[in-house]
């Protein structure tokens, strides 16, 4: 093998090294026996549970329910955030009217609203939809607003000289100009989406992964609890990868993404907009 090929091979293997090591240590730890052994199921046992639950269809059912909640909450909250961000970014009158109120609400950690939302909307689907929408709304709103405001005014003026107005101006100049920032908001809000859903499902639900986990706690089914955590991690990773894919697809023109997209690190997120980080709650 030539050195270049070797380097590539090492690069491909490197990310898996730590997870594999953890798995091995975990297996060793669980083989120790003693009174705590039941509290640390072996990776093998988790795998067995996984297969069993796949077979019974139970896992798929809960995963689909959770995903459905996450996606609908994301769509509702994201759409509202996007529209309000665009409107406030474009009309300063609307901004004056709504922005300070939005900023005020933003400073309340949305998870603190759970008791209130449970009372208002019950423990059904509505309360989950409201929670996730609320969590997703802020990063998308803030980044859309910021994206619109940071478009080079020279480009807008150029658009005017060439007779672009209304929807044509929006489609050719405003939206693409804000897109990089909007996608930062999307990526950030996807994280919040899962976080909110986990909490909402853990606190009160009759189905979904969070419910599966809480239910297993009552019967001390440690392997089911660990399995739920792993599924959450997987779903989170999956949605992040989708967002990254979207960034790479829609921001092909962007020199920043052209180079660092393959690595897809958080540097860009931080650089693009500090407000995205301050929405954490």
């Amino acid at each position: 093998m030539n050195p270049k090929k070797e380097r590539r091979w090492i690069n491909a293997v490197l990310p898996f090294l730590i997870p594999v090591l953890v798995l091995i240590l975990w297996q060793i730890a669980s083989m120790g026996g003693g009174p705590k052994a039941a509290l640390t199921p072996s990776p093998f046992k988790v795998l067995q549970t996984f297969l069993k639950m796949v077979e019974s269809g139970e896992l798929l059912r809960h995963t689909l329910i959770s995903t459905n909640r996450a996606v609908s909450g994301f769509l509702v909250g994201g759409a509202i955030g996007l529209i309000l961000g665009l409107v406030n970014g474009l009309w300063s009158l609307a901004e004056r009217l709504t922005d300070s109120s939005v900023q005020m609400v933003r400073n309340i950690p949305h998870l603190a609203l759970i008791p209130l939302i449970l009372i208002w909307f019950g423990i059904g689907e509505e309360s989950k939809l409201v929670m996730v929408s609320l969590g997703v709304f802020f990063p998308i709103y803030l980044n859309t607003f910021h994206g619109i405001r940071s478009i080079d005014p020279g480009l807008i003026e150029m658009g005017r000289v060439y007779g672009l107005k209304g929807f044509a101006l929006y489609r050719n100049v405003l939206f693409p100009g804000a897109l990089a920032s909007i996608l930062v908001g999307v990526r950030y809000s996807l994280g919040i989406m899962w976080l909110t859903l986990i909490v909402a499902e853990t606190v009160s639900a009759k189905s979904g992964i969070g419910y599966m986990s809480m239910n297993a706690r009552e019967y001390m089914q440690m392997e089911v609890i660990i399995l739920s955590i792993l599924i959450y991690a997987l779903l989170g990773k999956l949605s992040d990868s989708l967002a990254k894919l979207a960034e790479r697809q829609f921001l092909k023109w962007h020199p920043n993404y052209r180079k660092s997209a393959a690595k897809g690190d958080g540097r860009l997120v931080k650089k693009s907009y500090p407000a995205a980080n301050s929405t954490a709650s």
Partner: protein
């Protein structure tokens, strides 16, 4: 071209920004197909005048008439070339030029790109082009819709000397082919003399000088050229010169304000 170039008439034009009186009384008539250069010290209101002609700003007083129509806003026969290329980075070169075409068609965009010698870069993003190439794409975009009036606000200011001269030749060539009326704002007297039929000096809010350049095209940088350059520079330096240290304006031919 089927459509004729535009005749421009500016009368008693005034523009104030709150307390700042930028243009006080500008009167100027530009004949169809004429190439006019506007020079003047930084901050004298050259860009302001151009923006008024483009319809991007409204005058405080007076009128600007294109042919027989007063300017009230953006005019579809008028195109502007700014100092920065102002290309949309998310659109490929050809799609940027398409914005300037009449029916948003790729064919005329490619024709326009061909004219500026960049047809082979049609499917690249503007981000990887050099400054001069970007400005050429911008020129293609401006000309793709066959404007009857082209306004140029120091479009070559940021380019290196060689690229600048190439661009000047390109602009002159396209102007001769397409016969639009052109107004060029520049800091560079030599550029003004190289391109313009008339050089206009804007000073203290009025047209302070209006010189016709009677040189054959394409212009060589010969004695006649140097004569015009020196005359205009001398005039330009005149008012502030009195009572101040005398600048060495005999070697002024390579001098840009």
């Amino acid at each position: 071209m089927s459509k004729k170039a535009i005749r421009l008439q500016i009368q008693q034009l005034r523009k104030h920004f709150d307390e700042t009186k930028v243009l006080t009384d500008v009167n100027l008539t530009i004949e169809p197909g004429e190439f006019v250069a506007i020079i003047g010290r930084s901050g004298c209101g050259k860009s302001t005048l151009l923006r008024l002609v483009a319809g991007l700003d409204q005058p405080s007083h007076g009128s600007i008439v294109l042919d027989h129509e007063p300017v009230t806003g953006i005019h579809q026969d008028t195109r502007v070339l700014f100092q920065e290329a102002r290309l949309l980075p998310w659109k490929k070169v050809a799609d940027n030029v398409r914005i300037g075409t009449q029916h948003n068609d790729r064919e005329s965009a490619l024709v326009a790109l061909e004219q500026v010698g960049l047809a082979n870069r049609a499917d690249e993003y503007p981000g990887i082009l050099s400054g001069g190439q970007k400005q050429r794409v911008s020129l293609a975009r401006a000309l793709a819709g066959h404007p009857r009036l082209l306004l140029l606000d120091e479009p070559l200011g940021a380019l290196d000397a060689l690229t600048r001269i190439e661009m000047q030749q390109l602009i002159e060539q396209l102007w001769r082919e397409q016969q639009f009326t052109a107004i060029l704002v520049t800091h560079d007297v030599s550029e003004a003399v190289a391109l313009a039929d008339r050089v206009i000096l804007l000073e203290e809010g009025v047209v302070a000088m209006d010189t016709r350049i009677a040189l054959a095209r394409p212009r060589e940088r010969d004695n006649g050229f140097a004569y015009y350059e020196k005359t205009i520079l001398d005039r330009l330096l005149e008012p502030k010169e009195r009572g101040t240290i005398h600048p060495d304006h005999h070697s002024a031919s390579a001098f840009a304000i």
